[in-house]
Assembly symmetry: C2
Homo-oligomer: 340 residues x 2
């Protein structure tokens, strides 16, 4: 095959003169990068040092641990790793609000579980309805519409919903140090992906704007969809049936399905991320695993081994065994949320 | 949130001076692009004109049909659209060769269908074994190993297998005009994806080298995998169970699952691509649909409505109805294969 440069019509002269300018560009960028801190919301110390040392190792051309750009894949959990997951997963707050919004159209819900529990704010009865109850709530809130309609429902909700404690939109309760980390990795040639147990179509309407991660680099749990023509327009209709659970052993399976390459860095915060971190780090070559440990009850929340949401138990032990970097939120982060 | 530029540590001065250089760069590229032909293996005419007109419309800043770069998604079928699919799908040739390679370890196959038919080269008996027979062949050739082991088996086979008529490696029997089209679209800001009915892990070992399409931009049919630790190393073990069929209505479903955006251009060659083309083109805004019609028995093959592989019937009628561009291979392409 002919080289791509010739088939897209670049003359050799133009190509060479363009390439000749690149060192100028990168030289003019380099001093600024070296002078200013790419991770200003991280306190100096072992955690920050572990991150920058790894990035330096894999990006040092000619060094023993150099990794070519196309293999610099980094995967991030979402709930509790990139944004808040207490006092409950944001998607669960969406489900509860959505049931309330739909209740006037469904008068029978007032007397029928699990809907009755949601409408009465009875979390104990809701918990008692178990997985079957949750599936019923997911069915009425997440299926029965097209993918595009669902994206609008999510966006409309995020625009008005507020976190019960911080009274800010959920999309502002993302972790500023992690936003800097995403940008820092991308500036160093990494491709950043989300690998979340949460719903893929619940995240995609906003991840590009908030995290700089486009929809095609977002993985999550999903329900099945059906292709159908509606008024001459082809749509995907959301069905009340689970397609894939992107959690625990599902994370490496989903990563292989979606990315087709083993990441060299993975970032999580709970036992749901254990297998992703194993898959990423236990396979030779320079690898990086990081766990966000929520230790800051004052600025955010403090929880780990016994938490209902984002339980961090086995993965905390595995972090010690495997020398993964553990972020002590209270001491490692200067700020938690943007603008705070 | 702070703008990304400040969080990665670019000073305003450096940023502005860098931006100031960009018009110079693009100005120096523009004359060369205008002078030389980005699609040299396409004959001048209506087909080529339709392609370049569409690309010009969606990339003209300020024009009525301008599409921002992040929405320039183009999806390509593989078999019969990017590479050869006659006298049988390449993956089927792999299956047959692989059964022969494994036969010495499985002496019972000599007397047991569908293996007996494969070993005897009896295509009629093989066809008679139906879908059940094919699933048995897929199970023994595509499962029972890790994803990494399977990738090596595929690569090793492609290195030695030769097409029965052209006596060239299959990876050389890709369509040169389509390689130019992929490069031309990418040079115009498009992100190119493969959406194939073929096996996703059969394609990923070679698509980056041959098409410039990285693994994370390849979709295909898949079998289930299981995460497991083997000798302390986390692996994905391939199971004899279908996960997803990425064909017909499965193509838009897979595109939504994987990309999460509706493409603005789609390229196919058979009825398996019909729904992908509908999903892409019948939804408002500037859209482009193209079908490769195999009309060249001399340089490649001529087939459409009655072909066993790559049947093009309903989609050919739909192309006329929907004004999709139809490539007449014989008349529209100067060359078919690279270096030919």
């Amino acid at each position: 095959m002919r080289p791509i440069t010739s088939s897209i019509g670049l003359s050799r002269r133009v190509l060479l003169s363009t390439l000749a300018m690149l060192p100028m560009l990168s030289a003019s960028l380099r001093p600024a990068q070296a002078q200013s801190d790419p991770l200003p919301s991280w306190n100096d110390g072992a955690t920050k040092n572990a991150i920058t040392t790894f990035v330096s190792r894999v990006t040092t051309q000619g060094g023993p641990d150099f990794v070519p750009v196309d293999q610099r894949i980094a995967t991030f959990d979402n709930d509790g790793t990139l944004w808040i997951e207490q006092p409950m997963y944001v998607q669960l707050a969406f489900v509860l609000d959505r049931v309330k919004a739909l209740a006037p159209l469904n008068p029978g819900w007032k007397t029928k579980q699990p809907f009755k529990a949601v409408l009465a704010g009875d979390m104990k009865a809701l918990a008692a309805s178990g997985e079957k109850g949750l599936m019923q709530l997911l069915a009425v809130t997440h299926s029965g519409m097209t993918s595009e309609e669902f994206a609008k429902i999510v966006s409309d909700w995020l625009a008005v919903a507020r976190h019960p404690r911080f009274q800010r939109p959920y999309t502002e309760l993302v972790y500023q140090p992690m936003l800097e980390l995403l940008a820092y990795l991308r500036a160093n040639g990494f491709k950043t992906f989300i690998v979340s147990g949460g719903g893929i179509e619940f995240m995609r309407p906003w991840t590009e704007k908030i995290y700089g991660i486009p929809p095609e680099q977002v993985m999550g749990s999903s329900i099945k969809t059906r292709f159908e023509m509606r008024d001459g327009r082809p749509t995907l209709f959301r069905l009340p049936e689970i397609n894939f659970i992107d959690d625990k052993v599902g994370k490496p399976v989903g990563i292989n399905q979606h990315i087709g390459r083993r990441p060299i860095a993975a970032f999580g915060n709970s036992d749901g991320d254990l297998e992703m971190l194993q898959y990423t780090t236990l396979s030779g070559g320079p690898r990086f695993g990081l766990i966000v440990h929520h230790t800051d009850a004052e600025r955010e929340y403090a929880y780990d081994r016994k938490s209902q949401f984002g339980k961090l138990d086995k993965a905390l032990d595995a972090a010690a065994d495997n020398k993964w970097t553990v972020v002590d939120m209270k001491n490692d982060w200067k700020r938690v949320f943007p603008g705070a």
